[in-house]
């Protein structure tokens, strides 16, 4: 079991979410986060060009069994990057997941994902 943590552009959330659903990956958790990256895109604030300090992003947490790992990663790469990805498109982290327990049924492990 793996835990996929993806940091993506906030405006691409819908696109990524729809792509994941199309790929049958429907169990996801989403959070608003902010952070530093290599992105130096300038934005306008009250007519001045500024480089945002901490940039708002969206984080997706997806727990998957091994069979789904590559599909999930590919889907995110495609939908959050596109053909010509720019700096600031985000990152995907994959970590080992020790266990997974479904609260309702108390199932454990791969069954519960």
């Amino acid at each position: 079991m793996k835990l996929i943590t993806a940091i993506i552009r906030e405006e691409l959330l819908e696109q990524v979410r729809e792509a994941l659903i199309a790929a049958k990956i429907e169990r996801i958790t989403i959070a608003r986060v902010s952070g530093h990256g290599a992105q130096k895109t300038e934005v306008y604030y009250r007519g001045e060009k500024v480089i945002p300090n901490l940039i708002p992003k969206v984080r997706l947490d997806i727990a998957v069994n091994e069979d789904f790992l590559e599909t999930t990663i590919d889907t995110i790469l495609e939908s959050a990057g596109g053909e010509n990805p720019q700096i600031g498109a985000g990152k995907i982290f994959v970590t080992n997941l020790e266990d997974c327990i479904r609260i309702r049924t108390k199932e454990r492990g791969e069954e519960a994902i």
């Binding site: 906030e10 819908e14 696109q15 729809e18 902010s34």
Partner: protein, 443 residues
């Protein structure tokens, strides 16, 4: 008393042809009490627009909140400039083009009313500004129908054209002294504060717009949930408060008619809100805040045309009927599958029609007696119902046809419907480069 709304500017227009010296001596004295109330009403109606922005803004998804609030705010800019420049002249000038709209060169940029005082003792500037607020809120209401999926540029062009080609002529027909609906039947079509001009025209135009540009992506399968119902409740509250200016101010006075309009406004809003709550409690088992707010609006919309002619008992029944019919209509919308996103048609269009038609059953006797006198003998409820139905039908048809043409034009030029990508990224990112709430993040 609804007639009072318009008698005034025309009388003043006449005085313009006299030399300045005689104006100074002959124009009515300022009635400070009435003027103070009309100034207050003008401010109250303006308060409804940020109220509408909050009501609508809270109901859309997070990514569209700034875009949706801007739809209301930009109307304050565009419609005010158009109104001052030539909207007032088109609405309250004398008939031109066979009465299609009005015109009075003196009203261009309001140049001719700099020193004029209406017969009611109110400076004409106040009347012009009061009327101007109605021209702002009407197109802003339409935005609720096609929320979450239109381009900002296209929207701006749309409301400008709509204000010029739909609002100004309708306003002229219903409220100008030589407007043909103002003079229909024995004592005119009854539209005290804008049931046909504002709510039916906006609601029907919204419906036509929605049918032409289509539903939001994901409608109706996915839940497209409100981002902030707290804000929606505050918005509904501000609309209720502002409505006292909208209705009671439409008496263009500060007296008995004002008090009558104010009382029925409060009554209809309360009855409408309670009725919606009861229906929901019976139908779904829980009374939602959004339902209560919708009931307030349904009641207020229904009493808008009727505020000058009905008494509190009638107002209560109008509020109750409006909530019932609007609730059924929204259920029907979900079955028919057109995406009137924030129910501009479901509440403003339908509620306005209910009010404009059903009011005939509750008209106070003195009004009917006056109508009978001016008709030369008898004037029945059915006679007036016919006049009301004609006014509703004509306004709805005119608004629908012209809106369809405007949308075709806007779609061919700057484009009204947002692209799939723009819609998915949200109006805020795509058209404003802002976010409503992301700023709450650290940083």
């Amino acid at each position: 008393m609804f007639r009072a709304k318009i008698l005034l500017p025309l009388l003043v227009a006449l005085t313009f042809f006299m030399p300045l010296a005689s104006i100074a001596s002959e124009s009515p004295a300022i009635d400070t009490g009435t003027t103070a109330w009309m100034l207050t009403s003008t401010a109250l109606v303006l308060l409804m627009i940020p109220g509408l922005a909050m009501f609508y803004g809270g109901l859309v998804r997070t990514k569209n909140i700034m875009g949706t609030m801007m739809h209301s705010f930009v109307a304050m800019g565009i419609m005010t400039v158009l109104w001052v420049t030539f909207g007032y002249a088109m609405s309250f000038g004398s008939n031109v083009f066979g009465g299609w709209f009005g015109w009075n060169p003196d009203y261009f940029l309001l140049r001719g009313i700099d020193e004029s005082i209406l017969e009611a003792g109110v400076p004409e500037y106040v009347f012009a500004m009061f009327q101007g607020k109605f021209a702002i809120i009407t197109p802003a209401i339409i935005a609720g129908a096609f929320a979450e999926r239109v381009r900002f540029k296209g929207y701006c062009l749309f409301i400008a054209l709509w204000g010029i080609l739909v609002y100004n002529p309708l306003c002229h027909w219903v409220w100008a002294e030589d407007g043909f609906l103002f003079n229909m039947g024995a004592a005119g079509a009854i539209d005290f504060a804008g049931g046909t001009v504002v709510h039916i025209s906006a609601g029907v135009s919204g419906l036509v717009a929605v049918l032409m540009i289509g539903a939001r992506k994901g409608f109706p399968k996915t839940a497209l949930s409100p981002n902030n119902l707290v804000m929606t409740m505050i918005g509904a509250g501000l609309l209720w408060v502002g409505w006292f200016g909208f209705n009671a101010g439409s008496s263009i006075g500060s007296g008995l008619a004002t008090a009558q309009a104010l009382t029925v406004t409060q009554t209809a809003a309360a009855a409408g809100a309670l009725m919606w709550m009861l229906i929901e409690g019976w139908h779904q088992g829980k009374a939602t805040g959004l339902g209560f707010a919708s009931g307030i609006l349904a009641g207020l919309v229904a009493i808008t045309p009727a505020a000058g002619v009905v008494q509190p008992g009638g107002a209560m029944i109008l509020g109750i009927s409006a909530s019932t019919v609007c609730y059924l209509m929204i259920g029907l919308k979900n079955r028919l599958g057109y995406d009137d996103t924030l129910d501009a048609f479901g509440i403003h269009g339908v509620g306005g029609i209910v009010g404009a038609l059903a009011l005939v059953f509750f008209i106070r006797d003195s009004w009917m007696a006056e109508a009978a006198a001016s008709a030369g003998g008898s004037w029945t409820i059915l006679d007036q119902l016919y006049v009301q139905a004609a006014a509703v039908g004509i306004s709805a048809l005119y608004a629908a046809v012209v809106t369809a043409v405007i949308i075709l034009i806007v779609n061919k030029t700057v484009g009204l419907r947002a692209t799939n990508d723009e819609e998915m990224r949200g109006l805020d990112h795509s058209f404003h480069g802002e976010r409503g709430y992301g700023n709450l993040n650290i940083g």
